[in-house]
Subunit: 395 residues, 4 copies
């Protein structure tokens, strides 16, 4: 594979049996909650609520135990997980005494976070160097923690959609990077991870490993990737509710979804072009489940006083027998970080299993966790769950 | 079978290939909407919205076409379907011009409705006679309409729960009826139907064919039955939504369901002991899906200005990762009659198919249509749907 | 006054005691509902629900009776009120048999509607002519119907905000019109009306008579005007609810308002620059009532399947004693046309009274009916109502 | 006045200028929150949010400052305010560090709480003694704290309605108490308070000082009383919203209110006859504001997982112009204790002012704070607020 010209082809040599989870966007609310939650699970300080992999069907799969996960990450921002966790506790997202108790773990996490890299803007000549730097961080982390496998997960702020398609092969992409093409940070990280045989999971709607060149790279390096955009709120609810109308042959005329967000993700979504990424991954869902396209709009607004809480309001009009017009209204109110963090942990375990089993390429059976699943068009939550269980039962 | 002492053992001789649908509670909103809807479907005056059996997976099953269904019924109340339909149209449930157009069909239906029988109160000596009368009506209807098969469906006002268990065998039940035991009307109709080999479907939470004696009678006569309590609103919604919390391992703490009803069903529910029947069939669902028992309350109130419309409000509190308290709220607003009527038609087709295929006993694969499915504990909507499809695919 | 250079200074001579109501936007849903409603009121075919002027405090004011109102209007679109009313009836906004019964009245209204004028685009040389044409229509209408007074009401589709301020005096405005300045249609109509001494009411957020030159013209001609933007839904609700937080000293942190509209107004709002006009009139309200500025966002989306129905969802977060975070959520669902039409009739009566009493200039005491009241900053509904009653009691 | 046979006629001699607030039900959530809140206000540890008397119109009234209020109370239950406050903090009602900081104040409050008295059951012979005991507690409290005036406020768990009317004069009531008549605890406390010239405020729907004999006693002793049932949630919202329909002449057909409560108040309401008291004070409101009686139902359910939080859902159907059926839905979610506590403090200040000004009898101008205001039928929130301001401005 080195002959294919990768920046750093060597796959790290496992020294023991641990698995690394590397969070891109390590300073954010989701990453901080992952760090706090992982520590809490290890110490038995919280019940395993919110974790799908703790349900009975997942027993006997020998998924990696919490004690065998090592945690690190990158961020371009300063990382102060204790301060971030305290802010979340003040908003009522978690109990303050949990933060007190686990403050040392948060500090250890802080020390494992490295400065991140930025997107390449046109003409930047150090793209290869940035990838190499990331990879050196990843390798050092794996060695220090005795990790046999590594899952790199993107939980950073959403990027705008790609202005133009990227080159479609790993070689062409590598050449473009070297030549100073504009490439989003999520693509640089995905390249760095996959190139060294680590798994890559895109928990955001940013490009990440979605472009064809990255998928080809994963296959070339014999590793896996999954995504995209963690399904934590409104889309989760829709994926459970929309099949009702399909199964009962009730004709949906309109499905309006309004999302109010108060955290950094909300801010960036509405102040950059990133909103388009998010809205796109959210709006393909309903037509996919129903088999026709009602008026489906998704709006996202930034409401700072909500903090980490998010509120999703869905207004659905549908037609029943003999033309009767009916409506359903749903309001979902949850905390973004504690909805997302257990999915990050579930995905890490399941992707780690894929690495152990030498699976290669995209993992469509993880659709259950994503708004815009790669490798499958399945959007109905129960079908996604069945798909996951069926895969795991295959042996 | 006559030797087993039935009141009227002869199975009617089919003269041709039609199927009869006999509605107990023929004067009510649901029955009227079935009559109007069936006429509209026959004439192509309405699209087949709301009918599950019109979905693609049901093609190729050779289900009975609308043109081959004959409609009649019993009611203890006067039956004026055109007036009833016009009242529904005034409430916005259906278009007035549809009623104009189909008034002749409603009149034909009216002429096929016979006076019903009442519950036996202690000491009534004519129970056997009442059953014989019902059966003579059913036979006459079948002959007049050339029906080879008959489905008797209970859409009458909900009865209170049984004060004491009924005898557990057909013979003992027949003896009790003859001896003047108190027996609800729904049981008399179920007995009459099953005894003559007709299928019986209980679309209400009344006893109907749920008691063991009736089930045994169905098996003895080689016919089928299904129930109970058509799943048309809040319970339908819960059966789609509750699996979300189960699959994501989110811990539900409370699930409060408030139902506002304005029609005759709502009136009778709150003015008789019948409410207990309804609340019971509604409250076993959530624990069944979740596998544990959160605080699950179901309230039903009669709000006359709503007319045929019903409003269900669900308030759900649940715990996510790290103890975060979150909530979901759902408001479902629909018209009772047009939610129920297509289920009646779907059930008729599927039960007719079971009769044609000589199935015997309870039909658990119809759980998809019921709040309190007989013969299975499955309450998750998508599992019920899969169960239905799997049965139909068996050949 | 002719010396001031008006286009058509003569005030029409009353021949008897009727009052004319002239609707600009005569073909739309609101105007059609006004025509239907006025006919229904005259014939006693509908109770006076929704009309504030039919409440007890308004008795004894000798407001113009429905029988003494004559109705006409302008529209640039073809006007077919019966078809429009039938479409509304199909959506459940009103009963179809009401349209059957009043079809002749709708036809009479149709015959009283004249072709409207368009906005002046830069360089148009016939502005004076357009105003003269409008005035000739108004005068002919008054003469034909024996009207002593005329109220011109703008219920046309919302225009974008003014790109640049208009000249501030009537003379300068008239000169600009003659010189080919770009002037919105609503300003042309307001000029035409006020200039001939008719009253002008702006039921939309379009410029209308809001610019200073029009106000000055009203004063110069001794007539009255009022506006702007009829308060029919979400803003109405806010004006009743926001004072609660103010009176109880509960600190509102965010007030998010989402409006879903399906009619022509919704379409034009989202496809032109007109949205800015609407959002502006909606967003000044909460700070005005509370005395501070929480995060107050107003979103408007066009959802065609809703037709004339509109749905407003409000999500309010507020802080109580000791920092407790609480929320209120409100969903308002109503039909735009039947919410608006009675306000048009109420305003006509009250403005007619102002004309009879020789009031001059803006009528701030009509704030109760408007989202962005002219002449007062009062936004609390009950204070607006008190202001109205206090004025009427003055004698 | 001693000649009228009071149990303890001497009015306490003020030694200085402080005012006492004595809470009946001192161990409950509301009382605990009052204690915590008062300490927080004194120390500037919380902003005065939620306190109407801190609004600009109340400046210049020289209301008693927080530093001059002394706090004590009675409870039949053990009183552990710190534990109670910590439980509330765990539910997210208030910040845990506020409890840390103010724990000494809560302990001081605990020491000021005396064992309470129970209701008299038929044949109890020590009614006079119970009253005397209460009065001795009150006097000792006033002396110890240098209180010139005392406000006794009932925040105890709701009692059932009176089974039979009480005697109508103070003398007859005193005789009945001495003779072993069954008398609720709230009446004993009200008697004790008023009899010694203290003010009595009934913050619950229990009888308290509502019966005529107590009112007469207040007048005889020259003191004041007010009530009943603090308006903290759904009823508050209704009193702001219902006037909208009245002012706009929109015809309400149904107004359904569902209250979910998880605290001790909710528990006792649904497990005793007390629910009737609560529902009654809630259901007279809408007809009073509208002037007619729509279908108005109020339901209250106990949902333990909610803890101190309460959720009120209101579903309103109304008719607009031309018969259009419209709906409003409101969900109010707040914490019972922090909604109630500031009202207790506001009322204490305003009743203290009444005592200073030698007002006598019931104080109808405090209707703004109550679900079932004594001395007035006014239920519209803004009219109640105007009534309060008007009284205060009278000088």
């Amino acid at each position: 594979m080195a002959g294919q010209g990768s920046f750093s082809p060597e796959r790290p040599q496992p020294q023991n049996d641990r698995t690394g989870l590397w969070l891109v966007g390590a300073a954010g609310n989701v990453a901080t909650t992952v760090a706090l939650g992982l520590a809490a699970l290890r110490q038995g300080a919280t019940p395993p609520i919110g974790l799908t992999t703790e349900l009975p069907p997942f027993e006997g799969l020998a998924l990696v135990p919490w004690s065998h996960l090592a945690l690190g990450g990158h961020d371009v921002r300063p990382c102060d997980p204790e301060a971030t966790a305290r802010a979340l506790a003040r908003e009522g997202v978690m109990a303050p005494d949990l933060v007190d108790r686990l403050a040392p773990d948060l500090d250890a996490y802080r020390q494992a976070v490295q400065p991140g890299v930025h997107a390449l803007t046109r003409g930047d000549q150090d793209g290869a160097q940035r990838i190499a730097t990331v990879q050196s961080h990843l390798r050092a982390f794996m060695e220090r923690n005795g990790c046999a496998r590594l899952v790199v997960m993107n939980v950073a702020t959403t990027e705008p959609p790609l202005a133009a398609p990227l080159p479609e092969t790993p070689d062409a992409l590598r050449a473009a990077i070297a030549d100073g093409a504009p490439v989003p940070a999520s693509v640089l990280y995905a390249y760095a991870a996959l190139d060294m045989g680590a798994a890559y999971v895109n928990f955001t709607p940013s490009p990440g490993a979605s472009p064809p060149a990255l998928h080809a790279l994963a296959e070339a390096r014999g590793t896996v990737h999954a995504g995209s955009d963690g399904k934590t709120g409104e889309t989760l609810l829709k994926s459970a509710l929309a099949p009702l109308y399909a199964m009962r042959n009730l004709r949906v005329h309109s499905w309006f979804g309004q999302n109010l967000l108060g955290n950094e993700d909300g801010r960036s979504l509405t102040q950059t072009g990133a909103l388009a990424s998010k809205v796109r991954t959210k709006s393909e869902q309903i037509p996919s489940i129903l088999g026709y396209a009602p008026d489906t709009q998704v709006a996202i607004h930034y409401v700072p006083p909500l903090g980490d809480w998010k509120v999703a309001w869905n207004h659905i009009t549908f037609e029943g027998f003999l033309g009767t017009r009916m409506t359903t209204q749903v309001t979902w109110q949850g905390a973004d970080s504690t909805l997302a963090a257990p999915l990050v942990l579930d995905l890490t375990r399941l992707v780690d299993r894929a690495l152990r089993r030498d699976e290669v390429g995209v993992l469509p059976y993880l659709a259950f966790f994503f708004k815009a699943p790669l490798g499958t068009g399945e959007q109905a939550l129960h079908r996604q769950f069945d798909m996951l269980l069926a895969h795991l039962r295959m042996g």
